[in-house]
Subunit: 395 residues, 2 copies
């Protein structure tokens, strides 16, 4: 069986015709859209042609099953509302080509709603048991449609959930969605860990006042509390973080948000990510201590929303070493080990079996945008690494 | 003629029945609302009873004219959407009582839309020539209603604009709307200056990015630019400002304002107030230099909205000294000179004639709120200061 680069690229371009945006190579293929369902039906046909047995599950995850125990490979084929052609699609089509090209049994998967129209990596979260169907069904999208309603549009295709015990591991290839490989000129990234995430909202409440008649020393200005908190936090994180650690204040809601009123309340998001659970916990301590100190100093009350947390996931050493061997053969000296700063379906699947991930470069680090792209020579390099890694694994 | 405290307080409480909120003494009487128009018609009747000739002008300002040259006194009777009973109303009813109680001719005014449903101190701005009727007519409120439409609801009452040359000065009594008098225990504030205001929006634009995959050193985070700008500005203002200077970042709009996205753009309001025009200009220099330096350091583009500016207005020395003499008689040792941090109709009227202002305390500094209040003994003290000041002025 021979790896067919042309067949691989042809399928990848065929997939982007479903929901083609008409802007560059961009796609509009959100979970459960007509384009998404049509794409999955086309994929099911390609799986059947590859000798796999397609099976939709009750949430729209599509598996192409090899007979007997197998290695699972894939990613997702839904897209962002304004998405790129490779985000998810690359991993699914590459898995299909590997299944067609190697001797050992490979099953293929396209998870549903990885892009979070409803939750976060919703399809793989349900399949892996991380999210109950009951809780998932009441999640709603921005327009108020529930997950339960949306998945009912694919109900006639469902043949029930696939038993995870038939798989002995999961490998996902994905575009990096960041600038690191593009900047360093590397062709391949072998993922060491998927970083953990902590995300919570913080509220400072002071005193809303007239911006003309309230002297500075009598103000309890919520924006000033946020600014002071942020400045101190940046200083205090310095001795704790690594170059891979990230933290973000991405959402700020000031009340009443008027130029002539001293703001009485601010609610903002605080998110931090790292591959080390201990560091995530240490950062949380610093965040809470800094917020507390700032609130006391400026006479604010302080309130925290619920903390959302996903623990870091280390890649399976055996699968990862197989990918590293493949990378060294395909791109000697032009690959690197790296954490994944983004979440992926592999995070969920790690609850069930050993997982590993491979990255290809994102040109200029752009993703979640019609302009997302990767040189085709790099896509082929990624496919070749997968093939060699799988061939090198003892069954 | 005798000052009648009971008549004064009774009229003040009568006025708050128009648009009574049913919450404490609060009122809902925005410009051109049914309650506002009914209140003005009642006021016109009270003016007539006091021997004055009521005249509505084309924008709904209501004058009660003494015959011949006179001193003008008053304020406004429209309220905030959730307003207090004294904001504006106090100055109008006090003026009416002074007109009833002194020998010299006093005219009374209630300006329209001081609270800025459409603009800022709209009625007095048009009357004083600071805002053309043409420009005013296209201003819209939050619901999209134009000033032109709104004022047409009072068109049948209009008898044309009042000639300002018939007045030789303007005195406005108002609640302080700030905490200074309440905190110091003073009963009366004689205003020295109405502070000037500068207000502009500033935009930092960096690069929107994935909050997981974008390393800190490659980010161009608009929120971090705002925070750094604010921190530096606070430091740099220290050597320039006085205890009366105020500055406020009251409005912050972050884009796209999502917890998992490095914010690419922030537009925020920067407002500063001071009684010294030179200091206002010096602060503007510091703001622009600090924004420029922050933008360069963090790789942001920088853009300024149009700057709105109102120059400081010094009170007329003769009128002010009369108020000071009255204050020393009524509240010896319990009055003070102070700037007004809030805008008032007197700012506009100062284009036409000498103006002066008097403040009474606001309990806990609260205003623009149903809870706004002042002890009635302080209201009477303010009335008495006005009466003595007017009596002491040579005609």
């Amino acid at each position: 069986m021979i790896v067919d680069h042309t067949r691989f690229l042809t399928d990848l371009h065929k997939l982007r015709e479903f929901g083609a945006a008409g802007v560059g190579k961009g796609v509009v293929r959100p979970a459960y859209s007509d384009a998404d369902i049509a794409a999955r039906q086309w994929l099911a046909g390609r799986m059947r042609e590859a000798g796999l047995t397609p099976q939709f599950d009750p949430v729209g995850n599509l598996f192409g099953l090899a007979s007997g125990p197998s290695l699972l490979m894939g990613s997702h084929s839904d897209s962002q509302p304004e998405g790129g052609w490779l985000d998810g699609a690359l991993g699914v089509i590459a898995a299909l080509e590997v299944a067609r090209s190697v001797d050992r049994p490979i099953s293929v998967v396209s998870f549903q709603d990885e892009e979070g129209r409803f939750g976060v990596t919703t399809g793989s979260a349900v399949w892996s048991g991380g999210l109950s169907l009951e809780k998932a069904d009441v999640l709603t999208d921005g327009a108020g449609v529930s997950f339960g309603q949306a998945r009912s549009s694919m109900a006639d295709l469902s043949q029930g959930f696939v038993d995870p015990s038939r798989f002995d591991g999961f490998i996902e290839m994905h575009i990096e969605q960041g600038p690191s490989l593009d900047a360093s000129g590397d062709q391949i990234g072998v993922v060491t860990d998927i970083v953990g995430i902590r995300d919570m909202s913080i509220t400072f409440e002071g005193q809303q006042n007239h911006a003309g008649t309230t002297p500075m020393h009598l103000r309890r200005d919520a924006f000033q509390a946020l600014s002071l908190f942020n400045t101190r936090l940046n200083e205090r994180f310095r001795n704790v973080v690594t170059p891979q650690t990230v933290w973000t204040v991405g959402r700020v809601n000031l009340h009443p948000n008027a130029s002539s009123i001293v703001p009485g309340r601010v609610r903002f998001s605080m998110q931090w990510r790292d591959a080390d659970a201990d560091r995530l916990a240490r950062m949380e301590e610093i965040i809470r201590a800094t917020a507390q100190e700032t609130a006391e100093q400026l006479g604010m009350s302080l309130d925290y929303g619920p903390m959302l947390g996903l623990d870091p996931v280390a890649m399976d050493p055996t699968l990862r070493r197989a990918l590293e061997r493949g990378a060294e053969q395909v791109a000697p000296g032009r690959w690197r080990r790296m954490p994944s700063g983004a979440l992926h379906d592999a995070t969920n699947v790690s609850r069930l079996m050993p997982v590993a991930m491979l990255f290809t470069p994102s040109i200029d680090g752009i993703s979640h945008d019609f302009a997302e792209d990767t040189a085709e020579v790099d896509l082929i390099a990624g496919l070749e690494v997968l093939v060699r890694a799988v061939r090198s694994l003892s069954v």
